[in-house]
Assembly symmetry: C2
Homo-oligomer: 236 residues x 2
DNA sequence: CGATATTTTGAACTCGATCAATTGTGGTGG
DNA sequence: CCACCACAATTGATCGAGTTCAAAATATCG
């Protein structure tokens, strides 16, 4: 158990407006209604790495949008081992389950500094009554989560260690379309691909030796996406 | 590639009414509106084992409810190997993605004889306009699928072969709360837990030797759920 | 700069994969 | 009804990728 850096909470409309622009799918309705008609506060949460946004089984009736940063959703097994079930990034939604009155299903933990938008479930309900078409957007979010979950399963539970790590690197690289790549701790990476930290370490070391990864900074790398993709698909 | 037994299609209101009772969450709205106000037909589909309900990438704008039987959702990897991503049973929904205008994301294949309810996406849209609270039910379905996907990941991609098979058997046993258990083909079971057919076969053989499974019929078994659960959790 | 945590590397071992051969099970037509 | 065939399940023997346990090297932070 690590100590938890307490989250910074504040209300900040201007940021949420900005959020609304980038994330027009979910907040198109919000813009039209205008924030003044909403009587519950939409808050901003700032998290440091390793901080929890929420924990499994908790009930807080709040829906979140990740404005910037990266988070992991973790599930635990009876034997205590953990498995990372999903990786969330810019403009992904967290805690959708609260909209169907379920407690949170995972621990949500920050991997980097995170800037998060916290929306009370009641606000969404309210909004849904006046603007039913936001349900279309919400369903799209759910489907996105489901696609992610399925992709996660097929990509990170099949094939050799080499393949899985290559796939993970590609996924981590993809947001920055230039070949930069931010790595996470080995333990996290291991929990994502279902391997041990040692195996992940060895595999990455080998990729480096082959010149497919080149250090740029402490946790920043340049990568050869072409050949990584070939490795991911089992050729070579 | 196997030959496909062509699905039997028919329109049958009485069965759908029956369906509405059992599956009140999704069709509560339908009951109120009455079927006569729906201008698109709700059809019944009968599938034999190994038959496809739909294929990945296909677009048919139809949502399905599994009235009885068992189906698998399959995803394929670039190297051609397949992985079963979810198992669907009585009153589960299939093809939700069609409601957000996405093509189907998996191959949906019958494992047993199946009785299926096919609802055009337009009907849901129509319904949503007059009866917005059905969205609550739809979101619940989505969340259910997501919970299933996450559970699938943590249960069937971690632990020893023994544990995984035990967990699978428990899941297959759970609908019939008495200790009966219907097994599927080894190949399917292997694709569910991410092992080879040989390993699954060996593991089941061993469980039988230990008296935790006892044959009753060709594919029917009696099982000792208590000790299976202990194995699943890694004790012993 | 020392102390703790994380990563890397090494060596032995193990579980499940793989390859191959045998047995069992429907299903079909004679 | 049985003989036959194609296919699924079982069993055996071997092999190897990844785990495990342990130690060294490196990074992180007060």
């Amino acid at each position: 158990m690590k100590s938890i850096s307490s989250p910074t909470i504040g209300s900040d409309e201007s940021k949420c407006l900005h959020c609304a622009i980038r994330d027009s799918a979910l907040f198109a309705g919000l813009e039209e209604l205008g924030f003044r008609h909403i009587h519950q506060p939409i808050e901003t949460v700032i998290l440091a790495p390793r901080a929890f946004l929420y924990r499994a089984q908790e009930r807080r009736d709040t829906l979140f949008t990740l404005r910037s940063g990266a988070m992991k959703l973790v599930q635990y097994l009876p034997d205590g081992s953990q498995r990372i079930v999903r990786l969330l990034r810019d403009s992904d939604a967290l805690g959708l389950e609260t909209l169907v009155r379920q407690p949170y299903q995972h621990d949500a933990i920050a991997l980097t500094d995170c800037d998060i938008c916290a929306i009370p479930a009641d606000v969404i309900d309210e909004l849904g009554r006046e603007q039913p078409r936001i349900y279309q957007a919400l369903m799209a979010r759910w489907q996105q989560a489901l696609n992610e979950a399925d992709a996660w399963l097929t990509q990170f539970t099949t094939g050799t260690a080499r393949q899985r790590v290559a796939r993970l690197l590609l996924r981590l690289a993809c947001p920055a379309s230039d070949h930069r790549l931010r790595l996470f701790g080995r333990e996290d990476m291991a929990a994502m691909v279902g391997l041990t930290t040692e195996t992940v370490s060895r595999t990455i070391a080998e990729l480096r030796r082959q010149g497919l990864l080149r250090d740029q900074d402490a946790h920043l790398q340049n990568c050869d996406q072409e050949t990584l993709r070939r490795i991911a698909d089992g050729e070579e």
